[in-house]
Symmetry: D2
Subunit: 297 residues, 4 copies
């Protein structure tokens, strides 16, 4: 039976204390998130600082979240590595630990060589060998490459490739993906940022994986619920109201901003791992102001 | 009284025969467009090959369109030049010739110097000296620079700057502009391409200036009408159906593709001016196929 | 007989007083430049604010410089326009007025369509119809497109295309152009900025068209002379010494910086035309300091 | 005593057989390279597919090369990771295994946050904690970020940061780095590609880390020797002659091309790890032709 990827998922921030992953802090956060309508969690996505974690730390995160995962919520792991083989290996280890699906970014170090042929072979190999379904992760702002709608349409034919998180913010492209792939639960197109959530839903997206959902899970779920229930005006108002806050915890202040915001809204955030720098006092003041305006604090 | 910029406008292609502007062909096109629900026309925008026209040719275009302009439809002229003074001059000449508003692209040759301070002074000077209202034109794919929502919010305070056409396709940014500017008729945020029309409307855009509206005026107007009248499902279906055709006449085949498509749908298109090359036979076949799939021929 | 393009040329700044071209100020500058070893002048290149000048102003500039041009120095005009036809027309008008050669930038508004086929046809058409020899002008920082060495090698076969100014700063590419085109006077590869002058000479460039040569004509000529006469150590020392000043009058402070520097070294600079903003006081102080360190004041 | 980084270093390709690192093949390659004037080796740089190797594989590579390293040649390890802590850890493990210096790329996943402050803290922390000297590795084509000359000048003050490999190809920037850092052995500016080797030497670079030196070690060393001994004409001729071959094994065909070329010139190359695809037959034919023209086969 096909997994249904519907609704709002936060790519959860990884809490560090004294440089180590703080599983107790994570459990406290999960306790609160579990009370919301979030459809599940993404561990070690871009906002979870996947690139700052080693394999052991990643698997321990899967384990911790899995043990607190309420029935009906999904656990997705960000298992993309630069090499195909390493991605397959991590994906299956995460699956053993309890992950329901894997979110696999595009390999990108050799970006000029990551043409459709290379990416297609990469994803098909992974899909063939993975023990859980695969979601493509398109995030040009970090990788410097874009997954074309043509490639997505082709990959969507593989039964074990069940969707894409598109963080490009290119809404025309999101539309093209929706127009050229089978509908859920065969294939899911997911908004990659709260900034384009309503627009993506308006075109037929089945949900979103949203950094902002760490900090504002209820509000993000509300946009989704309002839209699904025909309350378009309310959805639009809330979408517009959240834009500044969303920008602050994504492009604006980045992962450090997301973590600072978590601290401000009574979750645990803490500092990112270096070389990411924590926010300076002035930046924190600005962030506080933005969150207040959005009624998040 | 403020001008209301609402609905769908095509940035009309400029017809050439034997290298000269073919006003008779333009009149024939206008006769057909005039029968649609188009809200007006943009002359010598990017799709009208403004950069391939001299000043005399531009003013003659204003004149020709003005003479066939039905009451209630608006005439907008693409008067942006690289220098502030030249833009003011062309804007006021177009106004004398009958233009209702001016669409002013960002100067961009010295792109590294076009920071907010330079762009702000440029637009404010123009707005002060122009005899018709100004629409900002943001088109990073041609200019290499982006107008930030912060700058737009600031420019929107000038009574003679009444809107923006944002062709960036960045729907989050379009949302930010809508969230931080006064509503129509004080300020209008317009979709810059049919690819993001529905998404922009869903966030509160008041219409669009769309290359595709040259070729598919009825369909573009239908998305607008469906949306405004609460027929969201129909709007979404039509939006998704038009994506491939829209891409073909914009990023895909460019101005030459737009003109070839006009010929295919029984308007006059003709060839663009060199260095733009006309479509090759194989490209035309592909375009025909795409237009057929979209039920445009 | 083929024109020989060898040595150092400044793309001269266009002086404005009260918004109009100040021909008297230009004549004063020329009087000083004429006493140096400069090989000639480029009028209305990028640093001459070509995009801020109308056709009449351009032709008047050719006239003024021609009348003061000492024998043996060349006059090159920046006649590139967006359309092929307009470029041909301006080139031949400049030729009538006395220009010895034309520097033709790549058309670039429709940059995605300016592939090798389009650019090749553009340049070949111009070369066929122009009454003076053509120099290709590659300046990606302003145009957003790059002329490939393959295209240059192909265009170099036309007898009326006699060289290229490459401002990309990509020294490998400059080497490729030198390696795949016939030597001067058949084809000349020219450095496009003083920052890569020595490197380009080391690979076989025949000279340079350098913004810095407006301000430091003697020093730029000295690098060329030192290199040609085997004084490599001296050439290298001077090259390294001028880097900061060169950056300041190009990428750093742009045309406004070049003009401010002219004023500082006892030429006439004045302000650029808007939307370019003149330097602020703090920027001027920084510029003064940089020029002092380079012993230019 | 300061390490002197002078001359030509290949960032050696990592040979794989049946998906595993083939240490015997590597030893055979080393035997041949050891007979040349190469100044040493870089293991697991970009061309060594660092991103496709796990830590154990990396350390085994250091060990294998160290055991065959002739006296006087240096062993440099590419120890850059995304996190500061992981980089320190890998650097010191490589040092224990025998590496003489570490080449540390810029962390880049969160590229928008890698400003001068973040990069400075990153490199200073590493330099403080590393047991071997650090070379900065600037490679915008892979990382999407550039290390500014200002930052380099500042980092060069740390006694344990002894140089930079700049692969940007921006020769003006290389000049700026040379002009603003102390001379070798305090700080070494190294060409990052054979395409700009001579140009960099002309400005004062102390050598180069060059993919092409895998395939054409003698020729790369010859350019260096010719230049150092005042044979400028010979150096220039050889530099121009190698440009096409260099492009083929770098930007042109990438790591797969470098490996195919190794096979063609009687070293062992083999295939890269997926997702990098091996060359197709047609590409191999083209590569053969290019290497023949450069007299490398």
């Amino acid at each position: 039976m096909k997994l249904k990827i519907e609704g709002i998922f936060p790519p959860i921030a990884t809490p560090f204390v004294d440089g180590r992953v703080a599983h107790d802090r994570l459990r406290e956060n999960l306790e609160k998130w579990n009370k919301t309508h979030l459809a599940g969690y993404v561990v070690f996505g871009s906002n979870g600082e996947a690139v700052h974690l080693d394999q052991q730390e990643k698997l321990a995160l899967v384990d911790t979240v899995k043990q607190r995962l309420p029935q009906g919520k999904l656990l997705i792991a960000g298992t993309g590595c630069q090499s195909t083989a390493a991605t397959v290996s991590l994906t299956n280890l995460a699956a053993e630990q309890g992950a329901d699906a894997a979110l696999v970014f595009t390999p990108h170090y050799y970006k000029a060589k990551m043409d459709n042929a290379a990416l297609k072979k990469h994803y098909l190999t992974i899909a063939d060998q993975a023990n859980i379904p695969i979601l493509i992760y398109n995030v040009p702002q970090f990788t410097g490459i874009n997954v074309s709608p043509e490639l997505v349409a082709s990959l969507a034919e593989h039964p074990n490739i069940i969707g894409i998180k598109d963080s490009s913010g290119n809404i025309t492209q999101i539309g093209e993906m929706i127009a050229t792939t089978p509908p859920p639960p065969s294939f899911h197109v997911l908004a990659g940022s709260a900034g384009h959530l309503l627009a993506a839903l308006a075109l037929g997206a089945s949900g979103g994986i949203l950094a902002l959902a760490n900090v504002a899970p209820d509000e993000c779920c509300m946009i989704f619920d309002d839209f699904r229930n025909g309350r378009y005006t309310e959805a639009r108002k809330l979408q517009l109201k959240l834009l500044a806050a969303n920008k602050a915890v994504t492009a604006g202040f980045g992962v450090a901003g997301l973590k600072a915001a978590l601290d401000m809204v009574a979750y645990f955030g803490g500092d990112p791992r270096p070389p990411l720098l924590p926010l300076e006092e002035e930046q924190k003041n600005k962030l506080t102001e933005i969150l207040k305006k959005a009624n998040l604090i």
